[in-house]
């Protein structure tokens, strides 16, 4: 499962969660899902991306600053719930 959500009004957070340990390990080892990969997908310098592998949750997590704060005039997704689609394009070899 891939999802996104506000982490407070000023940050967006992404969770990539796996059903089984083998798939998670394969993705983790591949290096395809990384801080740099997330940064590239959202046009950010890598140092603006918080990035974690969460082994016990079989999940990868990344957080980025919101480009527009929640509720600001041009904010287009109040909950930040539909911002993950670019992560679905990452190809794992």
């Amino acid at each position: 499962m891939i999802r996104s959500k506000n982490a407070g009004p000023f940050e967006l957070t992404f969770d990539i969660m796996f059903e089984d340990a083998a798939t998670y390990e394969r993705v983790k080892r591949s290096g395809a899902v990384s801080r740099d990969a997330v940064a590239a997908r959202f046009g950010l310098p890598p140092e603006r991306v918080k990035f974690f592998f969460c082994d016990n949750a079989l999940a990868v997590k990344a957080s980025i600053p919101r480009p527009v704060f929640q509720g600001d005039l041009t904010d287009s997704d109040g909950h930040g719930g539909q911002q993950y689609a670019p992560l679905m394009e990452i190809e794992v070899p």
Binding site: D15, F42, F52, L73, Q83
Partner: protein, 504 residues
């Protein structure tokens, strides 16, 4: 006590829960019931306008069952972040619902209201003392932010809940609270380790969200013991697994391992998760690192303006293909027309136009990596934001007409480009109009953390005695004591709710 049982009926008061799950949970005799009633998720307008996010009838249904359940068992009921944003208006709104239920059900209990709204004078004073600083990545916080704000709330920790219970409350309705603070205080008070108490609280505050497959919003139970806690959803169809519980700490947190609270930081780096059975998980190893300085997170909302909205759609492939140019020209046309009408009375910076193009980048805006749309039709939502509803509606009227006939090079003659399907706000005229109440737009003002006066002392003082005066007419006793606290939470009111026929 060797086990503390905690029931969270649902993730948000008003979102609902299954009554049979709740009954099952009550049968396991929880020591208290807690429920979060708010969030910043629905956006800053709730704090700015005072409107709760959930319908009153929905909150009343949930609160009725919780009050009956808690009073039936004789255990505390703790509600945090009342009415979505937890400002005074929201607290009163929730209090009013509780009164109504008490009257209808002939319930008798003592209720504490904990206020979280912060006055501008108090915030200015704290600012002058250098005790407010913006949280990263929130923008700068200064006196102008305070001046512009509609309402500010301070997010309380676990201490005010405990103080209210100490003061004799059976039911606590609190303003803005950390979700976890609702659940963490009582287990710590009973001597259970803070790391376990806060971690269990983090899982409980979302109700059944941490199960493998949540069907609907529902109940969750935690069983807190000396060196571990267990979680289980009362609905026998719902399963918690080590992975589902571990994964829950990721949810809506920027950092999955360190969760910041007023009084310290929950550290999950050493947490372990084991299946007790296919539905129940045991958690151990969670740590809590107390902070040197007690901090209170401030949330504020400022009014940005009034809005009117035009919704329309385009199907012409020429327009779809050049939609960015078309909307840029529309922008320019509208600004020119506004200037013609208002002259210097309304400058460019005093109003704002937002054009959202659904089918292209309406959802992701600047983050959208797909630059060329493959859609054959597009929906446009054009928002006019202005200092008054009248001006916003006037601009929406201009938008409607300019968008309707904005030409493209491919066609000559008068075209009908963007027939509006809806104009909301107070619209001037349209072929198909929906009306809504005037809309205000509120922006998240600033979040910042505020140091409280004394790190060692909890930020709220209790009231010690309940007024025993009798109320003949209504079920409410007058507030026993009411005074501004020198600390970070405005007021704590302790009230007794009694049915009409109650006698001392």
């Amino acid at each position: 006590m060797n086990e503390m049982r905690v029931l969270s009926p649902t993730g948000v008061l008003g979102s609902g829960f299954v009554e049979s799950s709740f009954e099952r949970a009550l049968a396991s005799r929880p020591h208290f019931i807690g429920c979060d009633a708010g969030s910043t998720d629905p956006g800053p307008s709730h704090l700015g306008s005072g409107q709760p996010a959930f319908p009153r009838v929905a909150v009343k249904r949930d609160l009725r069952l919780m009050l009956l359940g808690a009073r039936g068992l004789g255990v505390p009921l703790l509600i945090g972040s009342a009415g979505t944003a937890g400002a005074d208006f929201h607290l009163d709104w929730t209090f009013n619902i509780a009164q109504e239920i008490a009257r209808e059900e002939k319930l008798s209990f003592r209720l504490a209201l904990i206020h979280a709204e912060q006055s501008k004078e108090f915030l200015n004073q704290r600012l002058r003392e250098g005790r407010i600083k913006p949280l990263d990545p929130a923008p700068a916080f200064d006196g102008a932010v305070i001046d512009r704000g509609e309402h500010f709330v301070g997010m309380m920790g676990a201490e005010p809940f405990l103080r209210a219970l100490d003061a004799g409350a059976d039911v606590v309705i609190a303003g803005r609270s950390s979700d976890t603070a609702i659940f963490a205080g009582l287990p710590m008070r009973e001597g259970f380790p803070a790391g376990l108490a806060w971690h269990a609280a983090k899982i409980l505050e979302c109700g059944a969200a941490a199960v493998v497959k949540r069907k609907t919003p529902d109940c969750m139970m935690a069983f807190i013991r000396d060196d571990h806690f267990e979680v289980e959803a009362p609905d026998p169809d719902l399963r918690c697994t080590p992975q589902s519980i571990a994964a829950h700490s990721l949810y809506e947190n920027a950092d999955p391992y360190f969760l910041r609270e007023s009084s310290g930081t929950l550290d999950l780096t050493a947490s372990t998760y084991h299946a007790v059975d296919p539905r129940r998980v045991r958690v151990a190893g969670s740590q809590f690192d107390p902070a040197d300085i007690y901090t209170v997170k401030l949330e504020g909302a400022e009014k940005v303006g009034y809005q009117s909205i035009v919704i329309g759609s385009v199907r012409d492939p020429f327009i779809v293909r050049q939609i960015d140019d078309w909307t840029a020209r529309l922008h320019a046309r509208i600004h020119a027309r506004v200037k013609q009408i208002y002259g210097d009375a309304l400058t460019h910076g005093q109003y704002h136009l937002t054009i959202r193009i659904y089918g292209k980048n309406g959802t992701m805006g600047a983050l959208e990596p797909v630059k060329e749309t493959a859609a054959h039709e597009l929906c446009l939502i054009i928002e006019a934001t202005a200092p008054t509803q009248e001006i916003a509606s006037s601009i929406a009227g201009i938008v409607r007409h300019q968008a309707l006939h904005l030409p493209i090079p491919e066609w000559s003659g008068l075209i009908t480009a963007l027939p509006p399907i809806s104009i909301a706000g107070r619209s001037t005229a349209s072929t198909s109009t929906t009306w809504s109440s005037p809309m205000t737009r509120t922006r998240c003002s600033r979040w910042s953390s505020m140091r409280s006066t004394a790190p060692a002392s909890p930020p709220c003082r209790p009231f010690l005695a309940a007024d025993k005066r009798r109320c003949n007419q209504m079920q409410i006793m007058c507030p026993t004591l009411k005074r501004a606290l020198p600390e970070d939470f405005g007021l704590l009111l302790l009230r007794a709710i009694r049915p009409p026929n109650w006698r001392d």
